[in-house]
Amino acid sequence: MKKIFFLTLILLIQTFPQSIYSPANIKKFADYLFCTKDYLRAALEYQKYQNISFNDTVQFKIGLAYSRIGDYNFSEEAFQNIPQSSNFYSLSKSEFLKAIFLAGDFQKFDTAFSNSGLNTNPEMRKLNDFTFFYTKKKLPTKQDFLNPFDKTERNVVNKFYDFKADPQYKSPLTAAILSSIIPGGGKFYTDRISDGVTSFVLVGLFTFLSIDNFNAHHDFRAWIFTAASTFFYAGNVYGSAASAQIYNAKLDYDFSVRIKAYLDSKNYFLPQISFCK
């Protein structure tokens, strides 16, 4: 009799309806949202849960959720609120630095990195090294720079370092001067060979036609050809300077794309954590 009574009691407790808004259910729902990548709603649900009962994992997930939707201010705030006693404390500091890095506030990153106590953490030192690529800070020596990276990483990072140390930019002034001396010269200098040939031929041709027409006393046509050759000449000088600027912008763009792809592939030197099955 007693056994039946307790068995019934246990079954009743298990099947007793639990509110949708009970803390446990809020958390379960937030976990579901997090795992279906609905990060903003997940973060808001986790915050509801935190208002009832603090959980360091949930707090960490709030930070991650905000980071994944690019809301870095909230992400930083969430990571900062993880208590020192938590298992996530050290990881949250790294994630905090990553959020600042992604927000592009490298001045803040420097301060946070110095104060984080992660100066000796090799992974965070790697991330710190990458801030040099985004700023105008003076690069350290190559040996110091590459020190935190392992052998496989060094090959790639070495190339990034070399580019940053000497980006092989083209000078717009040099391009303009070259084009003013030899039409199309500046375009050759900025690797635009076909544009260079076109400029050279057009300016040369119209100059020849204008001289030839002046010599033949066809003044009207001569002036038209002079105007055309002057127009092409000026366009060639201006175009060469612009071409150098475009060349440099392309170098910078390609560099930033390669860095971003590399950092993404390395998850910004942080461990990959999966909270979802």
Partner: protein, 323 residues
């Protein structure tokens, strides 16, 4: 016996309260991730045996009463009615999550789709309308979900998808009584595809006096022919521009072509053939082909203006059903 019943009731109530409390307290730290060994800061109750229930198992474990689900549906619906679409989506998703018997699967998915559509998140809207389609309980719900997918595709400007879906609906014997409706949305799809002729045809299948057919016919009559503009400019430089109402541009184009044409011919007449070839090739032809491109561009631009005017009317003044 009475004593036993009282004890049973008390234990049941306190058991439930205790269960809920422990659920909160034991979730102080999620045990699913332990990068640095055991978690040390949990409460003294952290080792209680219900803790594993809170690990990464994200399916609802407790039964939710029908009444509570109904309340949740009403809450979500009221948020939707108040146009608070973000919160409405959250509450409909919560309803879906706890609705283990799938009682509200169609309604919730359909409403989530509507909310995303209102927020211009068309791809997500289509996804949820598709979920609704899968969980439709009858032909009417199935039809409504598919038409919602069509309408969202129209707004997303993936009109070819909309037309394909409408064609499949048209061929489905279950929807033979909806042919007018299908043609109506087909007309809208063609309008958004800037194909006013086919739009007019689709509306015409409903009725010759369909107001949108009249609108389409008006647009067709107002539009400029790109081919005509091009041919006019081939024959007389600048004429295509003038045809599309760009008189100044047409006159300038005519002037430039006249000047370079004269110099080219004059050079050849004066035995300066090289001059003639270069002026003709590098200047006259440049302006001549520029004139052709301009005529085409202006005709297209004017047609876009006419279409936009009609679309603006549909958006702000048209009283009928819209995508």
């Amino acid at each position: 016996m009475k004593k036993l019943m009282t004890i049973c009731f008390s234990v049941l109530v306190f058991g439930k309260i205790l269960f809920c409390q422990l659920t909160v307290l034991t979730s102080k730290s999620d045990l699913s991730f332990r990068p640095e060994g055991e978690i040390s800061h949990t409460t003294s109750l952290g080792v209680f045996s219900v803790a594993p229930l809170l690990r990464n198992d994200i399916s609802p474990t407790s039964n939710t009463s029908t009444n509570e689900l109904q309340k949740q549906f009403n809450l979500a619906k009221s948020l939707y009615d108040k146009e608070d679409y973000f919160d409405a989506i959250t509450e409909f998703k919560r309803l879906l999550f706890f609705d283990k018997d799938s009682t509200y699967t169609f309604e919730a998915n359909y409403k989530i789709g509507e909310c995303y559509k209102e927020g211009a998140k068309f791809s997500k809207a289509i996804l949820y309308f598709t979920y609704a389609e899968w969980s439709a309980n009858n032909t009417n719900e199935l039809y409504n979900s598919r038409i919602s997918i069509v309408r969202t595709n129209i707004l997303r400007r993936t009109t070819s998808n909309a037309v394909i879906l409408l064609d499949s609906l048209q061929k489905d014997p279950r929807f033979y009584n909806k042919l007018n409706d299908i043609n109506y949305w087909k007309g809208w799809a063609y309008i958004f595809a800037d194909n006013w002729e086919q739009a007019s045809e689709a509306f015409g299948k409903i009725s010759k006096k369909q107001p949108l057919k009249k609108l389409c016919d008006k647009v067709i009559s107002e539009r400029y022919s790109v081919t005509a503009a091009n041919i006019l400019s081939v024959v007389l430089p600048g004429a295509g521009q003038i045809y599309t109402g760009n008189i100044l541009s047409g006159m300038l184009s005519f002037g430039w072509n006249l000047l370079w044409g004269y110099i080219t011919i004059n050079s050849i007449v004066e035995n300066r053939v090289l001059d003639g070839i270069f002026v003709g090739d590098l200047l006259w032809l440049r302006f001549y082909f520029g004139n052709l491109q301009n005529a085409k561009k202006f005709a297209i631009e004017r047609n876009i203006e006419i279409s936009n005017k009609a679309l603006s009317y549909l958006q702000y003044k048209y009283q009928g059903e819209k995508p």
